[in-house]
Symmetry: C3
């Protein structure tokens, strides 16, 4: 039993397209290593309402499927009520972010995230290109 | 490095419609302030299977879009199997809650939640009106 | 204010069908009891990209509705791009896992998880039968 340590860094992500998927796994792992935390959790937190996170395989065909799947559920279209307020017509970006997660919590053991073989931390940009901030917070002992 | 502190309060929410969205951000922030935790996390936890949570913009047009979006994905309709068990025909309420989250974890820094400008903590009632309980748990140093 | 304790166990789950729902609540509760943590959190974490988690009612009719709902949103079909890479045609399994969660965080108070009456921790297998690993991590005081 030890004291609790908290450590955080903000990752800056410069996206280049309206919609794109970026793998943050290596950058998150570096923050965990820098934190000195051996056992605990890491929270990967999107500071935006039009960028969501998910944990799954980083395979280019699957990423196309994910984007087509989200386009089917929440089409990039005009005609949403919110578009009358926001001229960028980014309502679909909000809806898709709500379907995904604003935060992914991963266990940390022996100074590394615990993840299955195919689990990558993916940031899903839905309203780029933009400069995005992802807070990576490590908490533990 | 300090000891770990845990603190929790249960928010009571009296909803007035079958389906409605309520912003809990200010109430959550007050619990974080009352906890005395400077750095750590807050877990906002729905104690119900027909009320979900999400983190996104509290803008009235967008909230209409969110409800219409969920109605499209999980229509308020009769004919679900579970409706034969539960005469309130609230199967759609369960399905929508599953699409959203039972818990939102937010980082806490300097005694406040870390949130982007437009990120509000929204409780989505899908089977009101009811008295609802949301556990707000703060953990940190 | 006390020190932080972390404790984890890996649950092994042998699934028997391609798609099935298993209630992990009792097994998670046992890990929480074994941890000795009185107040804190438990993270229930899927180590797979084709098995998701959700927190909702364990009622057999509702579980049929959940599976039919997910079949409607992400049909078990051929023709996805990822299927050209993975001959098991499990793209739908990835998509459904992304809609659900890889991790459920629950508050722990007085040595038990805090859950509403109907809240069960459900592991949703989408690419079985397989041997699956679920990490249950308890963190607190």
């Amino acid at each position: 039993m030890h004291g609790v340590k908290t450590y955080s860094e903000t990752l800056v992500l410069n996206t280049r397209s309206r919609v794109e998927l970026n793998d943050l796994s290596d950058r998150v792992e570096k923050v965990v290593a820098a934190s000195g935390v051996r056992n605990g959790v890491v929270n990967v937190f999107s500071m935006h309402t039009t960028l969501g996170l998910y944990l799954n395989e980083n395979e280019s065909n699957l990423k196309r499927d994910v984007l087509e799947f989200l386009e089917r559920l929440a089409p990039e279209a005009r005609g949403y009520h919110h578009d009358t307020i926001d001229p960028t017509a980014n309502t679909f970006s909000h809806l898709r972010s709500i379907l995904l997660s604003p935060v992914i919590t991963l266990p940390v053991e022996n100074g590394k995230t615990v993840r299955g073989t195919w689990q990558s931390i993916i940031a899903a940009e839905f309203d780029g290109p933009r400069t995005r901030k992802i807070l990576v917070q490590v908490l533990g002992e």
